[in-house]
């Protein structure tokens, strides 16, 4: 487990100090879409320069190193309790070594734990897998964009949102309209649809782990992802919310079966500094 612990520390370092290639590429492709000399274009240039500097100096590319969210696929026979302990150890070491910003605050005492561990912190989702490979996905989810997320219960009259995929589209647009530039656009949007509140918020987070070029296996959802992305970019909010053509880089939608009476939609917003990565062990 010691080697694994060090592997997780390295994963933290990679995720905190660099962008996944698909996200960096999407930012680069966004640049020519914006008017030369505009606030949108200069913001994108600074973002890309920041990504380069962070990678070269191995410093956190955003000072908000977020809530660490782990998605772990554990092979049968490997202890999930040991796995959790190892992740907590790695978190303490990574916080001091990289360094990460200590973000775990006790709600009652208001004390910061100082090492990014605490009650329910980091967030760890584990599931057993039949294969022999341990797979650890990590996302560092910033607070600004997490605050921009919204949970909807359909139908919702103010948006003319019925209990159908067009209703989902309206929710996504509403969430982005409300977020404006406050969660650091261009955004990556994860959407979860289903029967219960707790499940759809998790499902929306899962979508944020998909690569930007990952096409939805369901053609209706794939079409909805494409349409909402185009419509979001038509809102004109732009990079940093200062106006422009690129407000989002991708929309990813996941759907579970729902109850006849229930139709929940969770919209999770990821900032442009969308830090995620995978360790295969």
């Amino acid at each position: 487990m010691l080697k694994l612990r060090d592997g997780i520390v390295e994963l933290y370092k990679k995720v905190a100090t660099s962008l996944p290639p698909d996200v960096e590429e999407a930012l680069r492709s966004a640049l020519p879409a914006e008017e030369e000399g505009s606030a949108a274009a200069s913001s994108l240039s600074v973002m890309l320069e920041n990504v380069r500097m962070a990678r070269e100096t191995a410093k956190p590319l955003c000072q908000d190193t977020g809530v660490p969210v782990f998605f772990v696929k554990v092979p049968m026979g490997l202890s999930q309790l040991d796995m959790k302990e190892t992740i907590l150890d790695a978190t303490r070491i990574a916080t001091a070594k990289i360094p990460l910003r200590p973000n775990a605050v006790d709600v009652v005492t208001e004390k910061n734990s100082g090492d990014n561990t605490g009650a329910g912190f980091p967030i760890i989702y584990m599931e057993e897998t039949r294969g022999g490979t341990l797979s650890i996905d990590l996302m560092l989810k910033g607070g600004g964009c997490e605050n921009a997320g919204q949970l909807y219960k359909l139908p919702l009259e103010e948006l003319c949102a019925q209990r159908d995929l067009d209703g989902v589209r309206r929710c996504v647009l509403d969430a982005v309209q409300r977020a404006q530039g406050r969660g650091c656009p261009p955004y990556i949007i994860g959407v979860g649809i289903g029967a219960s509140k707790d499940q759809v918020t998790r499902l929306a987070k899962d979508q944020l782990m998909r690569k930007l070029n990952d096409a939805n296996a369901n053609s209706d959802l794939a079409a909805l992802e494409k349409r909402t992305l185009t419509e979001i970019n038509g809102l004109g909010i732009g990079p940093q919310g200062l106006g422009g053509r690129i407000t989002a880089l991708g929309v990813k939608i996941g759907a579970n079966h729902r109850h006849p009476a229930s139709y929940f939609v969770d919209v999770s917003v990821g900032c442009w500094a969308h830090r995620r990565g995978r360790l295969i062990w």
Partner: protein
């Protein structure tokens, strides 16, 4: 490219009144950071003499930096802005009581702050969210810190010496607000997209 307006801190009244929404600026001199807890503290019990730094005329930066120990002091290694809107309920009081001439963060602020900017002569500056290493490279040193023990490094008030720190004036002291303009325009498009089926 437009040449930025080079501003030296602290700002004067005429510096502030000469700035218009849309101006690109650079800041040099000393500014302070403060986010959720500092704002709550300053607004709840405004006592100027308790703050160890002179805030009059300076810029209050919404930022919770990553800092590391360096040469017996501290150095900011990542220091981008945090979302300003969270401190909206405190900001007008803080501007009034402490004589700030600039508020810097990301995403803009609300009606109360907009009024305070006009009434007390102050500007809101937006700087680039997520560009933390780029911006930290413009912080020459951490000169001081207040409430470090009590609030921790993220929420403490840092006194930073900056040089050529880039920002854009998005809310000026004349009532102009770029964030509001973008929001109103996007709301019109949004309303078209969610018209009745």
């Amino acid at each position: 490219m437009v040449t930025p307006v080079a501003l030296n801190l602290p700002l004067s009244d005429s510096d502030v009144s000469g700035l218009k929404a849309g101006d690109i600026v650079t800041l040099s001199g000393r500014l302070v950071t403060g986010r959720d807890r500092i704002h709550k503290y300053l607004a709840e019990r405004p006592r100027k003499e308790e703050v160890p730094f002179d805030l009059s005329g300076t810029v209050l930066y919404h930022c919770g930096p990553v800092v590391e120990n360096a040469d017996g002091g501290f150095r900011a290694v990542a220091a981008g802005p945090t979302t300003s809107m969270r401190v909206e309920m405190y900001e007008a009081i803080v501007i009034r009581e402490y004589g700030l001439r600039g508020i810097m963060g990301k995403g803009g602020m609300g009606e109360g702050t907009r009024r305070a900017l006009k009434e007390y002569g102050c500007v809101y500056l937006h700087t680039i969210g997520g560009a933390a290493v780029y911006l930290a490279a413009r912080i020459r040193k951490a000169v001081g810190v207040w409430k470090l023990e009590e609030f921790g490094p993220t929420e403490a008030m840092w006194l930073f010496e900056v040089e050529g720190f880039p920002a854009i004036v998005t809310m000026d002291s004349h009532g102009n607000d770029l964030h509001r303009e973008v929001e109103e325009a996007s709301f019109r498009r949004f309303s078209e997209l969610i018209k009745k089926m």
